[in-house]
Amino acid sequence: MDYVDGNMLAGPLQEVFAVDLTTATGRCASCGQTGPVAALRVYSNAPGVVARCPSCTEVMLRLVRTPNSAWLDLRGATFLQIPMPAESFTTPGPVTM
């Protein structure tokens, strides 16, 4: 079974998310390894795309695109940490100056 890497997820995930998720750091729910989504092992000849942990090979992400929806299963990842541009936080409530 041949695989490519998480870089190829950029296109399919861009349809769903406003940020590039390939630069996100993910933690494998199975072995606890953290690393960039771009480094996952991606098998794209399953129905949809399956991304596995490069360390323990458990599935971390599944993405299936149907004509009218995208199914995203992230149960194999405990978190995704997404780099964001610095932004001034807006606090809820009235602004006191």
């Binding site: 041949d2 695989y3 490519v4 890497d5 998480g6 870089n7 190829m8 950029a10 296109g11 861009q14 349809e15 406003a18 590039d20 390939t22 630069t23 690393g35 960039p36 989504v37 771009a38 480094a39």
Partner: protein, 254 residues
Amino acid sequence: MARTAIPGRLTKRAGWWVARLVERREETATACTLVLEVPDWPGHLPGQHVDLRLTAEDGYQAARSYSVSAPADGERIEVTVQRVPDGEVSPYLIEGLSVGDQIEVRGPVGGYFIWRMTEPAPVLLVGGGSGIAPLMAMIRARRAAGSRVPFRLIYSVRSERDIYFADELRRRVRDDQGLDVAYVYTREVPESSPARAHRIAVADLNTHGWPPQLEPTNFVCGPTGFVEAVSDILVALGHEPRRVKTERFGPTGA
């Protein structure tokens, strides 16, 4: 009016666009560069890729990712495609697509395997076979921007005949100050070279890479086995894993 991407910002453009093939250039016996004209192309960063999608008459669709191998020229982008034996998409791109034909493009995409010109760190590029494509985009972008960041390229190929962009690389080593190129031949060594045919190993990366103390950025691209071997060696030599950026292509042989 051509617009260029704001450096350091990723251009966000979802969905598929219809592009047109405007030129085709042979790189080797099994690879060629396709020049595509994409309407309203927003520009891209060196290392980003595009997804190309083909639709058969019965509605069957196949999409593949290809690295963009040159900086954008207005609405024109270049992808370099290696023919994968029994491939579903690459043989058609190389033989079936004629100048003037249309193809769907999604992109630019990818924010990980990218060289940012604002980064002062020296750069090591390690390419196996068709893995040179995104690295060439970085080399060309560096020159176009007049960057002085030192670049080293280690390029692993089966034989001299398999070198993509051979003339251009020779010229750039001479003219682009601060670019060095070393070749590793895995099957057949040119007569002028004292080396033996071998797969890339510790000595190649140690001699032609940067010492880890300089904290270079290492970009490794090629077939899966090649990328894993090279990135393991770089980490063993003392490079921080996060400074070893990888992009694995399908099986192309390097």
